[in-house]
């Protein structure tokens, strides 16, 4: 019933032929030793994940599974085309709805969903950022249900995180099992930081002269993704700054340094819209830079992702992404959406309420596996509690069928067993649209669990794309 990515019955699939041998010849004491080694390495480099609202150890390690997840070149090429197509359509949509709104005029997306969306940013209407790109790093969450069946679960157009795990997982695998990488032809992922930097530099504002100065703006060390912010700054060779390190003067933004102020051209912000400029958005924000939006709007600095990019990735707009692909690109979508019921429609509402036990229900603006109901894995009591939440505010929810997520072999206490996985590739949009082969594979470590979020007991795997 679930698609097993390694086994077709008794037969090992093409992608996993060499790994099968590797697993069969690994004695369990070696495996345990290696697993301990991997954990020690992760601790030493300091890659931990703070989980919101769960208490306990804030520097908990995200569990790493040594069994890689593998795609053949043929499988990847199709995914890559689908992801790039989707990224292109999402940016075309953003450019459109902050301009003339042709897709709304054409009646292909309801105006209400766009213009009354809380992520729609009035302050940037009419402004076209460099190269017309609004979302520069798009994390597209994919699940697989069959050999050629891939579905997009959600798009992340604001500040998707997790790419540091993609890089670290590879690093650690190569360190622990160099022979594996000699014996297999695996596409490298370590070009990502360079590619990211080139992408960011390619969207420098017109007023920038010479090589653009890029910085990463972080909310600070208490943020759960702070490790990733500093990791990426380090690998790209750019400064990691907080709001207080930047200031606006005249027509530009400057960074305070020990050698005096330095002009900043591109800000890769890992901070929500609401916090980037207290003059424009939340006035109580201590994390942002006063006046930043005025400099941005007048072309003195680029902000990645662009303020307002979030209107493309909420779960209500999600249902229209295939329509965007058709409307802007004149193509059929390569990647499919999951069927989605929107609870503000009466028929959908009735169907969902009658079938809560079989469905997954999510908040329109939720993320991280919070505020959701997985019907088949919930108790009657949990379902009834969630029903009350939906009744209070139906338009805040969407529902989807429980998907048969594919499984990958995963090391467990008893040896090796199938566990459900998803995939988040990171697509970069600047002068070109590019992505490194692979992405972050998350795995639900609990037997039978379909929730892969690290905050809900998920782990990660190295993701391989085999060369031809």
């Amino acid at each position: 019933m679930y698609y097993n990515e390694m086994f077709d019955g008794e037969k090992v699939r093409e992608a996993y032929t060499s790994l099968s041998d590797w697993v069969d010849h690994m004695p369990s004491e070696i495996r345990q030793m290696k697993q301990a080694e991997a954990e020690a390495l992760f601790r030493r480099i300091g890659i931990t994940f703070a989980v919101y609202g769960e208490g306990g150890d804030p520097d908990r390690l995200i569990p790493f599974d040594m069994m890689p997840r593998v795609f053949t070149q043929r499988e990847w090429l199709r995914l890559e085309r689908g992801i790039k197509q989707r990224a292109k359509a999402l940016n075309a949509f953003l450019r459109d709805v902050y301009g003339r709104g042709e897709i709304v005029r054409a009646g292909r997306i309801p105006a209400r969903l766009v213009y009354q969306n809380e992520a729609y940013e009035k302050a940037v209407v009419g402004f076209v950022p460099p190269r017309g790109v609004y979302s520069h790093i798009i994390g597209i969450d994919l699940v697989r249900t069959g050999r050629d069946e891939f579905f997009v679960l959600e798009d992340n157009c604001r500040t998707p995180s997790g790419v540091s795990y993609m890089l670290e997982n590879r690093e650690i695998m190569m360190r622990m099992f160099p022979d594996l990488f000699r014996g297999n032809r695996i596409e490298p992922v370590d070009g990502y930081p360079d590619l990211l930097r080139r992408t960011l530099e390619s969207v420098a504002p017109a007023k920038c002269q010479g090589r653009p100065r890029v910085v990463i703006l972080t909310p600070g060390h208490f943020n759960s993704a702070y490790y990733e912010h500093s990791f990426l700054a380090n690998l790209m060779g750019v400064e990691l700054v907080e709001g207080a390190d930047l200031f606006v003067e005249g027509e530009f933004v400057y960074m305070r340094t020990t050698e005096g102020p330095k002009r900043v051209d591109v800000i890769y912000r890992r901070l929500d819209d609401a916090f980037i400029d207290p003059l424009c958005f939340r006035r109580d924000s201590m994390l942002g830079v006063p006046g930043l939006m005025d400099v941005y709007r007048s072309g003195g600095v680029s902000i990645c992702s662009a303020p307002g990019a979030g209107v493309a990735d909420d779960k209500a707009i999600y249902t229209f992404v295939p329509e965007m692909v058709r409307f802007y690109l004149g193509e059929e979508p390569i990647l499919k959406n999951v069927d989605t019921w929107t609870l503000w429609k009466q028929d959908d509402y009735k169907y969902v309420m009658d079938n809560l036990a079989d469905l997954v229900v999510k908040e329109v603006h939720g993320s991280g596996g919070y505020g959701m109901l997985v019907g088949p894995r919930s108790t009657k009591k949990q379902i009834e509690e969630f029903r009350k939440l939906i009744e209070k505010n139906p338009s805040n929810y969407i529902a989807q069928p429980t998907l048969s997520l594919s499984t990958c072999p995963t090391f467990v206490d008893e040896g090796i067993a199938p566990r459900h996985v998803d995939l988040r590739p990171f697509c970069l949009c600047g002068e070109r649209i590019e992505l490194v082969p692979g992405g972050l594979t998350r795995v639900a470590l609990k037997e039978g669990s379909l929730v892969v979020n690290s905050s809900q007991g998920g782990g990660v795997k190295d993701t391989w794309v085999l060369s031809e």
Binding site: G101, V114, Y115, Y120, G126, E249, G250, L279, D294, S298
Partner: protein, 269 residues
Amino acid sequence: MRLKITHHTVYNYANPVRFGVQSLRTTPSVFQGQKVLDWKIDIEGAECGPGFRDGAGDWVQLWTIHGPIQQIPVRIEGQVETTDLAGVLRGHREVINPLVYLQTTDATEPDDALRDLAASVGQDLGKLDLAHELSRKVGEAIKYQSGVTSLTTTAAEALAIGAGVCQDHAQVLITVARERGLPARYVSGYLHADAEGNVHEAAHAWAELHVEGLGWVGFDAANGTCPSEYYVRTGSGLDARDAAPVRGVTIMGGAEKLDVAVAVEQVAP
């Protein structure tokens, strides 16, 4: 009518300000009812940064202030030729979809009393009549009285008090209009105080409601009228805070005290 506006503000700080940023929306809008003859903004000791016209058609100008400075004088002066268009904002270039102005904000969140007020107006009226009727009702519900509300008073609070100033009239009208499905926004500007002998301050605020076929139409519930040649429009927003003519922050400085003098006079062409 030719109006001369003099708007002087002096910001006094308890301690010297080290650094400050001000974003100003104090330049008259460009539309058929207004022609800007000259307009000057000067902030002593400040550097004029970038300026741009935003999606709502407002001119935004950024200033940065270098300290140490304990007093920041802001001088805004100019002349505008105005024409009465019965409140219609004709020929105003803007790109924001009117539906955006159905979004509510903290200050314009409806409560039961506001919903009741919105519902008290006839259900069978045309959009324009509905707008006029709502404006009239708001004028009745809120007595003009200064000192009973503040800059942070919400629409719901103002209606509960039953009194307030132009900001409160505008925010209450915006809230009830949105409740009835009419996009509505807050407008800030100036009012020639001699108009019909009213006593309001020269720095004024009113509401604009979007009426299909006509576009944006101004309603001054505080004065029971639509903006005429006595009015000068400078900027708009979802509520008073969003439409604020001046937004700024200063580093250090401590307690802030403002001295404001605004005059709107009629001058001979």
